[in-house]
């Protein structure tokens, strides 16, 4: 399968990428790791006229501490996120989630910024960001802004990013030692979650239970009111209306959300 023809431009800096986005408008797409975009282009589900490659911009990669938050550059690859000492120590759920993405070859290419911008509700890192209560930094023609995870994911593969904007970094709170749990249900290794659950300090996020990663607010409330993990988990699917596919129908997904939430709550580390 061969993508439709396009023009390729390697951006020289984040600013250059923004200029190119402004020049080409809707015709252009950013290319980071290419592990969501290239498969879609090979199937001709995406046919951008111009690809702006930001995948090798050093300025956009790496992990730093900034007061109470870790700041992770958008082009940090999944393998590097999973291995980063600072992330493993202070936001271990995020490092673990990165290690659950696909397989080693995919983790050597895919980036956190690409995964969040793609906003697949079944993906690992969007769910992790929601559970951690993190945010994203967005740069655009009018400057930069920070958007909380809960507001960033707006619909099925839809985010708060405008067509002329770039996600430059990801922020998560530094919380060493806070208990966390992670459950991903798959039938094949290297696959997306049929249902996923990430738990940090009483916040519960679900993958593939709706159009975006979701908070299991009813279960969170029950926990806060003193319910046992098992009792709280009974509310994990309340208010959700997940999609159906060859892997699972709606009721089975709701069942999985309850079971996986109980497991995530009962088997926390940290």
């Amino acid at each position: 399968m061969i993508p439709a023809p396009f023009e390729y431009i390697a951006a020289e800096s984040p600013g250059h990428a923004l200029e190119l986005l402004a020049d080409y408008g809707d015709e252009a797409k950013l290319l980071a790791g290419g592990h969501s975009l290239l498969p879609m282009m090979k199937l001709r589900l995406a046919t951008p006229a111009v690809l702006i490659d930001i995948g090798r911009l050093e300025q956009l990669a790496g992990v730093q501490a900034d007061d109470g938050e870790l700041v992770i550059g958008a082009t940090t690859r999944h393998a590097d996120l999973a291995a980063a000492e600072l992330v493993r120590a202070e936001a271990p759920l995020l490092a673990y989630a990165a290690a659950q993405v696909g397989d080693p070859q995919i983790r050597h290419r895919g980036t956190i910024g690409g995964s969040l911008s793609h906003a697949d509700p079944a993906a690992d890192l969007p769910m992790a960001l929601v559970a951690l209560g993190g945010s994203v930094e967005i740069q655009g023609p009018g400057g930069s802004r920070v958007v909380a995870a809960d507001d960033f994911f707006q619909g099925f593969f839809e985010t708060a990013l405008g067509p002329d904007e770039l996600l430059s970094a990801v922020r998560v709170p530094r919380r060493p030692g806070v208990p966390w749990g992670y459950q991903k249900f798959v039938r094949r290794s290297n696959d997306w979650a049929i249902v996923g659950v990430a738990v940090v300090d009483g916040r519960i996020a679900l993958a593939n239970m709706g159009a975006t990663p979701l908070r299991a607010t009813a279960a969170e409330r029950a926990l806060a009111e003193g319910a046992s993990p098992a009792a709280a988990a009974e509310h994990a699917a309340d208010g959700t209306s997940p999609g159906e596919d060859m892997h699972a129908d709606r009721e089975y997904r709701r069942h999985l959300a309850r079971v996986l939430t109980r497991r995530a709550l009962e088997h926390q580390t940290g």
């Binding site: 399968m1 061969i2 993508p3 439709a4 023809p5 396009f6 023009e7 390729y8 390697a10 290319l31 290419g34 592990h35 290239l38 498969p39 282009m41 090979k42 690809l51 490659d53 995948g55 393998a79 696909g102 397989d103 080693p104 070859q105 995919i106 050597h108 290419r109 290794s189 290297n190």
Partner: protein, 158 residues
């Protein structure tokens, strides 16, 4: 067309390519290196695995232009002067292949894995090769081969 300069199996190359050319097609058709196979063409099987700057990647999901300025190694580039690389030799010795279609990709994934983790446990080898499918062997001999290669590499370095 875009000009790319890169290193393939130690040789510096400079080629005009269409931006949409996939790295696997560049290697097979432009460079004439046929080790990396196209199995699934959907990032699933790993038959197209090569090393890009030392890390295993699926070359059906990388553009040749994305490899510009980098170092690509295919299974052909592992053996020097007709000597098999320890991982290739271990696959042969341990019957880590039958039809051989998955083998160049398996070998490159294994080389990448051992570079990151020179002394993996059996469990780590299984997880480390999760991106590579084999329809023949049932995997056991592949796992044995990679563990054996890790031992030989340790001996060579000792």
């Amino acid at each position: 067309m875009t000009r790319i300069e890169l290193t393939v199996n130690g040789d510096k190359r400079s080629d005009e390519v269409e931006p949409r050319l996939l790295l696997v097609h560049y290697l097979r058709e432009t460079c004439g290196l046929r080790a990396a196979n196209v199995g699934c063409d959907t990032t699933s099987c790993g038959a197209c695995t090569v090393l890009l700057d030392g890390r295993s990647v699926k070359s059906c999901t990388v553009l040749a232009v994305q490899a510009a300025g980098q170092d690509v190694v295919t299974s052909e580039g592992l053996s020097a002067d007709g000597e098999l690389h320890p991982v290739q030799a271990a696959f042969r010795l341990n019957h880590g292949l039958q039809c051989g279609f998955c083998t160049p990709g398996m070998v490159m994934a294994a080389v990448g894995l051992l570079a990151e983790n020179p002394h993996p446990t059996e469990e780590e080898v299984r997880a480390g090769l999760e991106g590579n499918l084999c329809r023949c062997t049932g995997y056991h001999n592949i796992i044995r081969a990679v563990l054996a290669a890790a031992d030989t590499q340790a001996e060579v370095q000792a």
